[in-house]
Symmetry: C2
Subunit: 424 residues, 2 copies
Amino acid sequence: MDKMVFKGDIVFTSIKDKLEIYEDSYLIVENGKVVKISKVLEESYKDYPLKDYTKKLIIPGFVDLHLHAPQYPNRGLGLDKELIPWLETYTFPEEEKYYDLEYSRKVFTRLIKDLWSVGTTRSVVFASIHKESTKLLMDLFIESGLGAYVGKVNMDRNTKKELTEDTATSILETEEILIEYKDKSELVKPIITPRFAPTCTEGLLEALGSLAIKHKAPVQSHLNENTSEVIWVKELFPASKNYASVYDDFNLFGQTKTIMAHCIYNTDEEIELMAENGVYAAHCPYSNYNLSSGIMPVKKFLDMGVPVGLASDISGGNSLSMMSIIAGAIQASKMKWLETNKELAPLTFSEGFYLATKGGGSFFGKVGSFEEDYDFDALVIDDSSLSDIKELTIEERLQKFIYIGDDRNIIARYVKGRKIEKPF
Amino acid sequence: MDKMVFKGDIVFTSIKDKLEIYEDSYLIVENGKVVKISKVLEESYKDYPLKDYTKKLIIPGFVDLHLHAPQYPNRGLGLDKELIPWLETYTFPEEEKYYDLEYSRKVFTRLIKDLWSVGTTRSVVFASIHKESTKLLMDLFIESGLGAYVGKVNMDRNTKKELTEDTATSILETEEILIEYKDKSELVKPIITPRFAPTCTEGLLEALGSLAIKHKAPVQSHLNENTSEVIWVKELFPASKNYASVYDDFNLFGQTKTIMAHCIYNTDEEIELMAENGVYAAHCPYSNYNLSSGIMPVKKFLDMGVPVGLASDISGGNSLSMMSIIAGAIQASKMKWLETNKELAPLTFSEGFYLATKGGGSFFGKVGSFEEDYDFDALVIDDSSLSDIKELTIEERLQKFIYIGDDRNIIARYVKGRKIEKPF
């Protein structure tokens, strides 16, 4: 387990602008971390166990920076409404069910199996308001061997009665999970998860910000997804400068590491604040299509220095596959390019790939790349069924896999050097 | 073969606004055509052979109204350019290869196998300029049992030297195919295929229009895909009123049944002309994303009475699956809705499904629906892997299949009542 050599066609990105390609090379792993990549296997590594994936692509595992586990049964359903009515009509009624641990287990095992299938080795996940169900989700992730941040959702207003928490209980339960799961697993960690500003009172947000700082715990929420939501937040928080500063005012915006999903309608000021505070943007192109939200100007965020990753946003998004989400993000950026009169350049292929690997992976630490000392999270891709007509370069093979491949092409998954078998 | 009963959960659209759903019902087929659907199997049909697909969905086969067979090796590649440089850099160099019949066979058998896989039972296809390769493609479609219109491409200017036809030869070879394949197969027919206005001289267009009328042959081409292309056409055809009327002036715009791919930048006048002449629009959402072309206002075409179908446009498009193209078309229409200040309503789910079945199918005649006397082109969908968490309605099951299913869910394919096995 602690020393290994992988042989194959190795591809990753250390910067977004360029793929690093090592054809038919050796990647040395020690204690779950990348030591080096070399064209010739050096003498000192010749006694390491060799995993021979010759002619296969070896790429970093995918990172999904935003998805809702309890919405999984709704994947592909209920996509005829915008955000707020969608929440009320389809989503809250589903999320209500997770007091039921048997149902929770059924859904979560299925979700985790499917994440494994599509090669998502790390994800950042919303659970529901239910404490026990949230813990179950974390335990199941631990059992699977995949990496995840999982957050119990906090909501104490503006939702169904059944999902409206008592503020004090919400805070207590959140802290209980933070303490219980802080060191339970190296790969699965808790994250503070106010659903979004409209469903949280100021008192709740304030307490969650304090918990974040007290426990050095990360934070996730939603920001500027839909124009009606943006107006609503302005009405609910008249004292805050803008939507981003609602979170910032309560220490939930980069005071500890933070992800904000969507960020379609950010003002320049809000983007700047994200850059300054190091707040991640989770770009969810399919969800933003499905709920008629709009297209996030990803390139602008990258240009202004905001860390960005990609996300499925199940079940606003329908696709769980980061391959198709990379393609979707590049496609959406081309429409944004037209919309901005060709000012905001479209994402390149390497940028798309970077966002789904190192871009989101950096939220987890040294994850999403094969640079020295990075966790060896990897997928082995047998693309022979995609590349059997004409000779292709390694870059073209990767591009074919991303644009037209699927889980059938993924023949092995590793997290921190450990091979992960199909869970459950 | 000529009498059959199918049992299952039957779904189709006769009008775009509503799914027709027959739960656990019987569909009677005689001589390849739908006779009726009933909840209870009537006495007179009880001795017909029964295909029992209980609990499975039975839906019309998908129709792909526009794709380029010789571009298949490029699927998922070369998506970093707009139309004209994309043609020059990636597409023409690939299309040049089809003088080679061995390479043609390798590509076309793969394409047809994959069309079979994803449940596309009828397609309208561009071949290349090469006569023999075009004939081979038609023969392979005939062998497969799938339905298709296949066109030898005509180009006599503004392309690579190797792809520039002598005008007279281009016309002669086109007519040769029209005659040879007119009655060779009931399911595979020739179609006249000027690539697009810029690569055709007026002499060529005029002759092709005459051939269309002489042989009552259908026509396909491209229209208003990219803003630079539109400007170029204006320069090349100063005498024509607009891009659409270039084709119309030469009897290539509905004088016989006609499909125009893309139609993103049509003026109202051009849309009206399509409606008047009954010219089909083939909407190719993924291609239009990939080549940064823009988003077609599909709803406007529907509202103005233009017949519309969906298409993969391989290899400008990356996805061959009409399921994902339905989802893509609905998603794109939502962005168009935002872009038009919420004036042009997004496509509904039933509209998307209609476009990929009866919408495009009507180009083939009574195809794409299960109304009486329609060809029984059908897919049998085992969606049990998609619907195993909670109870779903039949409409929800279909929606899940479209949004998150794939070829693994398709367990049988029929064309005109005949079961089609995996070809080659």
